[in-house]
Symmetry: C2
Subunit: 111 residues, 2 copies
């Protein structure tokens, strides 16, 4: 039972929700970084090594944005050298299955 | 059984598939237009009326891009005035359930 079934007039999708979702996945790297972290705890150095194609400045900016959006948690350990680790937040984990499916869209249109 | 289960090193997501998927959903309007067409046949005039916030030029450009990407089918009927109708292609229809779920990402981060 949905409010919108079998309507003839177009039902406008919620632009606020679309905008919010696109903030998380837009840009070439955000979705990639989220999928790379996945269910694991990833050190900054690991992420940096896994992303040779982007500069450290871009990576740092994207990580900062994903932390600000509430997708990633960042923990800094006061070691020498300092250790910085990223994990998905609980909201980030909730979206992971959907984000993985976005690859499926690419697969459908790639072949 | 997947190739990547229980790995310790990050498994790089497929950038080509991510890029392909983002072409379909990126920008403020593509996802919106696809969801607006949905399972229906939509006249250009209907879409235009449902999207008062974007100019006709932007709408025409986005529709053209979605046709070129293979997401939308465009049919022109030689009537007076000419009738132009859009439907999702079969590939577009295949992605519709995933695209609807993207709204869920917005919902998760909106609250």
């Amino acid at each position: 039972m949905t409010k919108n079934d079998q309507h003839d007039l177009p039902v406008n999708p919620d632009l606020v929700l679309i905008g919010q979702a696109l903030k998380i996945i837009s840009g070439k790297w955000r979705l990639y970084i989220i999928l790379l972290v996945g269910d694991e705890t990833r050190r900054y150095s690991e992420l940096n090594e896994s992303l040779p194609a982007i500069s450290e400045k871009v990576l740092a900016g994207e990580l900062k944005a994903l932390v600000a959006l509430g997708v990633l948690d960042r923990k800094v350990y006061a070691e020498i050298p300092p250790r910085v680790e990223y994990t998905l937040t609980s909201k980030g984990r909730l979206t992971l299955p959907i984000l993985k499916q976005i690859l499926e869209i690419g697969r459908i249109f790639n072949y």
